[in-house]
């Protein structure tokens, strides 16, 4: 009986952790979905996340105001996105390369600023886990099983999941979403009916980058509450691949994010339980999984036809 209880506790712990860790993947990958739907592969997400993580952490530790910190992450995300957009859309640069440039820029700048402005690794008090208290003595988080899994996350985690239906609505139900999808699918046709291809792409890339900034902040001021050099550690790159994985649909991206975060959660719990799985293998697993998933042919149909192709009127 006792053994069963702990098994349940472990499973609950893994599910809870999986939902929690999905936060940065969701923000980054949903943002990247907008960008890719408009035809721009923004490979610089990792760099934007690093900058977002740093600036939100810095503002949080200086002012103690977490909402101001989040705003800082959004602003830096917008600026980085604008930079990416100018290079990749206006100057029609090869997107895989410009993304690596943006990543290195973000990596170098966030490390430099961390070293000169903060110096050592310290913790802060980040967004706390909500309890949803109905009365003084009863909180939703106290509900057995469900409460533990669903009602004890920080506001950013709920925001990340709320972003899924919002993204669906934006892409499917709004004129703006239609424009974004059309310039990613057939920019010439969109142009011929008067849609400004580059303006729609700028908007999508900048929105995506702002979300990447929040994704970085979700790590530094909500999940981990520290900043370290290179702390994003590949999540940004996986987020880019998650968009392919999820077939360019927000719901698909959400399932992909949950899959990856659950693997990370299993990793953590494996270590806690002292399971004899090499951490190197479990770290490797998501990356292998991504490659395998990319090789599965059925999602090809959904790829925006003009992805990575710059648009210029009257050429080609």
């Amino acid at each position: 009986m006792n053994g069963e209880l702990t098994t349940i506790a472990i499973i609950l712990g893994i599910i809870h952790q999986g939902i929690r860790l999905a936060t940065p993947y969701l923000f980054a990958a949903l943002g990247e979905t907008f960008s890719q739907r408009s035809g721009v592969l923004n490979l610089g997400v990792e760099g934007i996340m690093l900058m977002g993580a740093f600036f939100s952490f810095y503002v949080a530790s200086e002012t103690g105001n977490l909402w101001l910190a989040l705003l800082a992450a959004i602003i830096i995300g917008v600026l980085m996105g604008l930079f990416m957009a100018v290079v990749s859309i206006t100057f029609q640069a090869e997107q895989g390369i410009s993304g690596i440039g943006l990543y290195l820029f973000g990596l170098g700048m966030s490390s430099l600023l961390f070293k000169t402005m903060i110096g050592s690794v310290t913790g802060i008090t980040g967004f706390s886990e909500l309890q949803f208290c109905v009365t003084d003595s009863f909180c939703l988080a106290d509900i057995p099983v469900l409460g533990e899994i669903f009602f004890s996350h920080s506001i950013l985690t709920y925001g990340a999941f709320l972003l899924v239906p919002i993204s669906v609505w934006l892409l499917k139900r709004t004129t703006w979403g239609l424009k974004v999808r059309s310039v990613g699918q057939n920019p010439e046709a969109a142009d011929s009916v008067g849609v400004s291809v580059n303006r729609a792409r700028y908007a999508a890339v900048i929105l995506g980058s702002a979300l990447a900034g929040i994704a970085g902040a979700s790590l530094s001021i909500s999940l981990l509450n520290v900043f370290q050099e290179n702390m994003i550690n590949g999540i940004g790159f996986i987020a880019v691949a998650l968009v392919y994985f999820g077939g360019w649909s927000p719901v698909g991206v959400m399932f992909g994010a949950l899959l990856f975060s659950t693997i990370s959660a299993l990793q953590l719990w494996g270590q806690v339980l002292g399971l004899n799985i090499s951490s190197n293998i479990s770290v490797m697993l998501p990356y292998i999984l991504t490659i395998v998933a990319l090789a599965i042919p059925f999602r090809r149909a959904a790829q925006p036809a003009a992805l990575t192709k710059p648009f210029s009127r009257g050429e080609n």
Binding site: V87, E94, G96, G99, L104, L107, G108
Partner: protein
Amino acid sequence: MNRRWSDRLIDNLLYPLAAVLLAFLFGAVILLLQGVNPLEAYSSMVTGAFGSKNGLADTLVKAVPLMLVGLGIAIAFRGGVINIGAEGQLIVGALFTTWIGVQLGEQLPGAIAIILGLVGGALAGGVWGGISGYLKAKMDVNEILSTVMLNAIAIQIAFLLLRGPMIDPAELAAGTNIPHSARLPKTTDMPRFTDLAQMLGITGGADEVGIGGYLGEIYNVLVQPSRLHSGFIFAVIMAILVYIFLWRTTIGYRIRAVGLNRHASRYAGMNVPRTIVLSMTLSGMFAGLAGAVEILGLHHRMFEPTAVSAGYGFTGIVVALFGKLHPLGIIPSSILFGGLLVGGDKMQRAMQVPQVLTVAIVGLIILFVVSTDYLVRRRQNRRLSAEPDSLTTPDEPASPSITSAEVSA
């Protein structure tokens, strides 16, 4: 009709230099905000990298992996694919070379062990790059994504091996368990420049020969003991061979043709998927070679993978772009960026500016260089429309058009 030399100069030299200048200008603003005089910082960088014998030797040492990686990335670019996986390819190359050296180094004569090590490193890197090429050609997997993923996988494999079967027995005995391999036998060390000079019977320093000033420093780099090893000569020879390969052989022509226009190449009867696999494999081979040379020439043992690859896989991209994807342009380009890395280190010591500034600057240079390609293309188009008779023989584009998402044949 050839392009006028002034146009060539502007396209190939002025734009890239402007891109670098702009990146350093941005760096200067950052330095100013840090309260550091940018002129002082940059001059400490330049003198640190190029001013003295030791700085110069370090710069050339760093130019070796950059040159080899840059050559590989240029081959991929020329073939119309993008290789962002040089980090991983370099790591698996270094791992395999280390394994060969540790296992066979004692039994074999040094020269043969070195050659085997180089070949092994190239093969391992080639396989690692070839995976992405195969996935792209056969299953239409975006090679940008697969190479990024394979980078992460290579790092974990390296740690796995260095903590397990490849760990230095001395580490196990001491119980410290630092993940690094045993040292390769001394016989497998690629000769240093000073060793080569001694073989030629040159022993005296610049003072003894009577060469003064900066020339004396350069002379000392070649003759006196430093970390500079024969891998530099090897890399330069490789650059020349890649030039001959791309411009003087049928396979090289095919790679460039597929890079310039995949559809036309298919109509001309070329096997496009096979050429894509070949481009990525060759590209990976050069990154693997870089790993092999780093082990045999410099480190003589494998340790923390990201410290061995040291970002060369990414800096190699800017080396290739700055060298205009031309093997002979990559030689000076690699020395320049080797100098940037060394200079960043010297600047950190002299001015207390964190070295990571150079990472940010490299990122900016990449962004600016890829942006100037657009200006070059626009200038070319304008020239074409200005000279109607030249329409029949258009210029070769500054770089091949790469449409990575394009469905392969």
